[in-house]
Symmetry: C3
Subunit: 675 residues, 3 copies
Amino acid sequence: MMARLGMHTLTGERGLLFGGDYNPEQWPEHVWAEDVELMRAAGVNLVTVGVFSWARIEPEPGARDFGWLDRVLDLLGEGDIAVDLATPTASPPPWLGHRWPETLPVDESGHRLWYGSRNQFCPSSPVYRERALALVTDLADRYAGHPALALWHVGNEYTQICHCDESAKAFRTWLRERYGDLDTLNEAWGTTFWSQHYSDWAEIVTPRRAPYMINPAQRLDFWRFGSDALLAHYRAERDILRERTPDIPVTTNFMGLFKPVDYWSWAQEEDIVSNDWYPDPGDPLSPARTALTHDLMRGLAKGRPWLLMEQAANGVNGRPHNLPKPPGQLRLESLQAVARGADGLCYFQWRASRFGAERFHAAMVPPAGPDTRLHAEVRAHGQELRTLASVAGREVPARVAMVFDWANWWALEERGGPSDRLNATEQLLSYYLPFWERGVSVDVVPPWAGLSGYPLVVVPNLFLVSDRDAAGLTDYVRGGGVLVVGPFSGVVDPRAHVRTGRFPAPLREVLGASGEEWLPAPEDRPVRCRWAGGGEFAAHTWTELMAAEGAEAVAEFTEGDLAGRPTVLRHRTGRGVAWYVATMPEPTALGTLTARALADAGVTGVVAELPPGVEAVRRGDVLFLLNHGPTTVSVPIPHPARDLLTGSAAAGQVTLTPRAVVALRPSENDIEIIL
Amino acid sequence: MMARLGMHTLTGERGLLFGGDYNPEQWPEHVWAEDVELMRAAGVNLVTVGVFSWARIEPEPGARDFGWLDRVLDLLGEGDIAVDLATPTASPPPWLGHRWPETLPVDESGHRLWYGSRNQFCPSSPVYRERALALVTDLADRYAGHPALALWHVGNEYTQICHCDESAKAFRTWLRERYGDLDTLNEAWGTTFWSQHYSDWAEIVTPRRAPYMINPAQRLDFWRFGSDALLAHYRAERDILRERTPDIPVTTNFMGLFKPVDYWSWAQEEDIVSNDWYPDPGDPLSPARTALTHDLMRGLAKGRPWLLMEQAANGVNGRPHNLPKPPGQLRLESLQAVARGADGLCYFQWRASRFGAERFHAAMVPPAGPDTRLHAEVRAHGQELRTLASVAGREVPARVAMVFDWANWWALEERGGPSDRLNATEQLLSYYLPFWERGVSVDVVPPWAGLSGYPLVVVPNLFLVSDRDAAGLTDYVRGGGVLVVGPFSGVVDPRAHVRTGRFPAPLREVLGASGEEWLPAPEDRPVRCRWAGGGEFAAHTWTELMAAEGAEAVAEFTEGDLAGRPTVLRHRTGRGVAWYVATMPEPTALGTLTARALADAGVTGVVAELPPGVEAVRRGDVLFLLNHGPTTVSVPIPHPARDLLTGSAAAGQVTLTPRAVVALRPSENDIEIIL
Amino acid sequence: MMARLGMHTLTGERGLLFGGDYNPEQWPEHVWAEDVELMRAAGVNLVTVGVFSWARIEPEPGARDFGWLDRVLDLLGEGDIAVDLATPTASPPPWLGHRWPETLPVDESGHRLWYGSRNQFCPSSPVYRERALALVTDLADRYAGHPALALWHVGNEYTQICHCDESAKAFRTWLRERYGDLDTLNEAWGTTFWSQHYSDWAEIVTPRRAPYMINPAQRLDFWRFGSDALLAHYRAERDILRERTPDIPVTTNFMGLFKPVDYWSWAQEEDIVSNDWYPDPGDPLSPARTALTHDLMRGLAKGRPWLLMEQAANGVNGRPHNLPKPPGQLRLESLQAVARGADGLCYFQWRASRFGAERFHAAMVPPAGPDTRLHAEVRAHGQELRTLASVAGREVPARVAMVFDWANWWALEERGGPSDRLNATEQLLSYYLPFWERGVSVDVVPPWAGLSGYPLVVVPNLFLVSDRDAAGLTDYVRGGGVLVVGPFSGVVDPRAHVRTGRFPAPLREVLGASGEEWLPAPEDRPVRCRWAGGGEFAAHTWTELMAAEGAEAVAEFTEGDLAGRPTVLRHRTGRGVAWYVATMPEPTALGTLTARALADAGVTGVVAELPPGVEAVRRGDVLFLLNHGPTTVSVPIPHPARDLLTGSAAAGQVTLTPRAVVALRPSENDIEIIL
């Protein structure tokens, strides 16, 4: 059953959305009219307004100045440009911190963080909460029913963590709800270690700067609390909006694989999942990393379309050295998002600011003005998007699921493990890459997702796993699924307690294998391994002392104390197959392993053979091929087809110059539609 | 018209000055007599006394102990050694911070900085100000008229920046003076960005630690304020001195290209420009970097002689690994300063301290005593300087000006630009190097300097430029000048607002060219370029998308998306020529460019051909040749001459062993003088 | 005369001790019985209990819960396992910091350090002191006379340094005792430098964050105070224990070459010296570094046996990437400690914790349980130790002494010297290595030790030396000793004042040589030298400008400005020989130098020839050979012998596989014992 509100609420009349953040308060009003004209020429049909307007709307405590915003919304509405209206609570005015310094956040060392930037609020501050909600209420009251209002954008890039006394108090409240009584908390935090027993709730503080390593359970709960404290504020704002505008969807912009906030818990509180994403032009893995992020957004949206809320039209300004995007890159990246389920493509921001910390962040209209290469590309891209209108609302079918979880991320990367080199997101990406290279679509899902619909499930790492989720994975295999589990999984429970016995304790049976030692490998030389069927490969960073208990050793170590011990295990059990990988194989070896797991699951890619750098993904009935590589290549295509972008027909194969994209709809399909 | 007071006030009777910091309070009095004897043997005629004597003079609040200082000055006076008497306000006694903790500075994170080191004062502290001025008043009253007193040395190496509440208050006062009203400040700081609008002056604080990037205009003004807050204190001390000793010149010691303090504004408040300079023996660019610094000092002194207040006789102790100076290096570096306009050569310090944080800083008398290689070199050098007495007061003629500005430095290196790799001082040095290698003297000047006397003006970078200064550069070219402008210039106005339109907006017309994108280049490979006349070269780090608008493309990019686009442009306009360089060329390419610009301007070096590592500079009628290279070389000289240092005659060429120096006065000149 | 209490108090009935930290409060009681059974099977005869039990014993202020601890001690006693009972004062419960925040330590920047970790106490806090001593009193009263109690373990790894106001007050008290009056302190600290004169004791604070480098004498005294402040607390606890249990020895666990605490002053306050030591498996110098540390412990114990209180059975978890120990390594490292004087081999910890910051620290019983490779090794090792029972109490004869001092360490590594690259412990290790490679045992001693019994004394560095200690070294040589002194020695006095005159001033006469300049060398190329007898070698980092004054130049520099100047000097004087090394020679050159000094002293190794990686050391009449290398090697042995570990006989040579160990007792000796 489709949710009542979602991207379809917006795209129904408009097709794909195109636009960006619009900050008219930075410009004299005469520029506004020019903006709307330029927007229309560029096919812009959605802009985000008001993200940083708190001080403009409420220049001093309790004041309200909505006149300018009325005029902006009217103008946009007249121009037929829909408005994503932000609650401007991400950046309080200086007067808030000045009059109520207790609203300013405090870092783990006790430093107060001041205004002069943005985000300077303690999420648990009652004063901040009260002021923010009063403003949101008035905003919603004023613009409920405004014809331009199409979407609510709550806050912005929720990020802030705080260690002040007010936060400590809120942390205690959160802990009371989680644990009920202090004995349970002491048990969960293992406070018999290092004499950390709490005798009174009042003693508990956030994990502030300490002489040595801090209790990992305390830190894990603080990660959880940090995400929830922000979420509580988001929900408070959202509830005000929902009450006043029940037909306007609500979103807040995510930031991809952003560690401090658990988007699984957040996404279910939104009508639309939206994301801000800035691929690094200097990172050769950017195309795959971006694809993974888009797939995560689709997962957060439960398969439904999502909104790319912010991308950059050219180089950003937050890195030490900000490489630009070559011509065509803007379009390539934007279409990659469409291919992976985005129904809206927005930029930060419409017109480059002349001042402020992001003066040098690229915009749709650069400082040099609209008569530029960059704006011409933006305009062409906006216009071209109309050719893809029929893609809106379509889903991206995937037969592979990849499991990712925030609590696991937090727990795995806590200091004091065997190695800091085992990183949750890099591990995820390394397992994602071979699927991306083969044109196999992947859904990113949480460990508690229903998995039975997927022939293949990959768990790159699940250091922290609950009994229930471990049982779910076991049932999945028994029911006929193919499961691949990466190293250092099944190690701790949700309290971050190590599970005793041979590991991975709760998955030992389904994997038909167990181990007794985690063995970080010397970093200056590869770990040599051999496939049982012949062929060597290298691994790195990590090994484990494993024994087969029903599983076959698909590969083994060939050197040192582990020589002859299994490194990759495959276990036929029930109606399914379970794989375990006790090391970090080099990419080609992960490719071999992936190919075998795909064969076990009977899954193939959307295109028979893909040149390196070419991404292939099907959305609805449209096959997108995107050339991220530096050379012109040919790609065989399965059916005669028509390229929606150009209207030209294709058969046998298509030729893709660097940064080229085709969106192929099978010709038969066309016929069907015609008939 | 020569200023009433200056180096000539000191050198008139003494010739070149030679000496160092003298801290007799660290030694028993019997050592003082030995010191004076050794000083006389070494030709010392100026010592700086009292820099760190506050606690000695005022051991507890309000006390005064001048007796020891009387004896020191008397002793020096009797030995005919002039005294540069310091106001000892750079390092307050512990009692100040203990009794008035609010005088201690606070860093941007809120950490209070304690005594136990030096410089622990808030420049805006009224208590510090009051205590310091009372002491200066008594000091001036006591020594006004003392026959040894020759120069005032106010404070020491002004450095300290503070973020305490008192500083925030002073910052607000400074901002009120700059902007008048809050609306103007809000406009200047672009506070519509990120909701930073100030509704009350009281809200404004210094740019303290914040969650994310801070407003660059706020930071730029804080740089300005920081320099001015220190300057205000300097002026307060100076005014007391001037009133009591109108005939004694006043200085404070600069530190070369020192970022926190805008020496252009300071130099005009001094009678004598003096500098502390410690070349790094491990830096192969030290000779040129030092030459540049000396030229800056000469620029600050408006071409008049200046004083090298501190240099090291051997290795320093502030770096992690402090390389020593090989024999002869001490003399080479000291004579380099003379060649570039110094009329005094002083060292930190006379006698090495036995205790304190600088025990291992080299001194004129090392811990091993006077019977050492080091002191023998010092003594010989001091004596030898008498041969150069006639150089005192002479100017260094330069036909090239290089523009450098502190506000630009601050603004350019603010985080959040396209790249952190574009550095104001390294950019300056890279443009300076080819002139130095060719023996072409350069004046370093501010952007608002009168330029019409220079055939060639080089602007390595002027990211921040005022309309007036841009107009000045334009007029300069129209009037017949040759101008070379480096990349990322003309970008922001003095409020750090990006100038809209094609860049460099205010110089577009004079350059006959404009651009629309700043494009940081990948750092792992060179940017390939080609001269229009043939020949390739490499550039790095930075490129721009430019178009000629009247200028000729002297060089173009040959690769990638910029292939065929201009990289170096040359524009004949009015009676002059303007060059623009849209990248960072490798040194040889900058050399080629420099040669062509010199040809445009009709400027040549003082010597026809210079071997690598040899520095050539003319001061008055004396040609200095200094061999910084590791091998013996021959240098052709323009005229028969006599080496002032040795008295020997030279013609045709001179041979320079490593670290050798000659000071050649043309023989004809001698004759003229004789006749 | 043997001290009344010592390791013999424990080993008399038990032979070598074997065990570890035991934290039963982390486990349900049913596990305790299993633990004791497993311990007995593994030969465990000593466990440390209660280190982190403060909160368990005193869950709220003033409460006492000893019942659980009674049961633990009873159970262990019944199992014949001796108890090393800890005073649990290293980690106060959260209630202490919560109710008395002034007990929390403060770092040099003013950050308060919170609970949630461990060690969060200010050593100078009266509240902490009072609470800790009350608890220790009750603990001692309760367990005095308990049959299992065998040893007191005071606190744990004393570490904490504090800059709070209470610490500043204690620092002032300490300084008053050291200096008597303020004039003496001002003189000692050289407060005439940078105007740091103190006019009142109340002005003095700890060396807190300051604008620039801090007074090195102040910092040196703060190092001294920091060690003494912790020692004062240790002594207060110890006195309570001694009074109540005069027959139970007292220890606290050291941490090898741990900079903040001067173990020379601590060791004399203990009955038993114990150490925690965790060799890094990734460091190729670990075997020698560990041997050096063990020799230091033996030195601290004045030659008597010591206790290895903590080692790891496998990888630790405090490093970024924690390499495991291969099979056999656990035994090899443990036996290395026996060979070098340890009579007890304990581990942190018995059973791996399931929670807390050290969940992933290896334990004797790993998370996977006792049926594992790791525990099998532990068990076999514990059992095997019985074969070495006769070694207990035996001494390690050494004819070479190596001087090491904490005050020197602190002073040498203070910032602001000629180079940060001259590091006290690395310098020590570099001089230790050639002895270790040659099987020559070394005693590590303080500079004030009686040296006349040693034919050879090595002083790798003694930057700080007192007049008395310098005279002691001089007398030692005159009396016939051979002395080797490394560079940058004899530089400052105990107040950190530079000694004036040619260096090393107080050793100049005995060395027959002196210098006048310390000359850090460029780091990118070697310093070339030549032995007088022929043969070249390289040195690095450091050189000195030396002149022979009676000594012969055994080696000289061959390049640059130092060419022909002595680099190694040898001086026959009195009845002895003194060497001075004015650089940092490469390892092979240090080997050559060591061989010559050994020849001067007539000292040889315990085995004629040692393959690389094999360690040879004699303890009592037993020769230990340990193969740390990666290959199987043969080692010639001096006499027919029996290997105590296996009982097998050996003659001529023994073959050692990687990680193999033999403990050879000469066969003749056996016969003598039998007869």
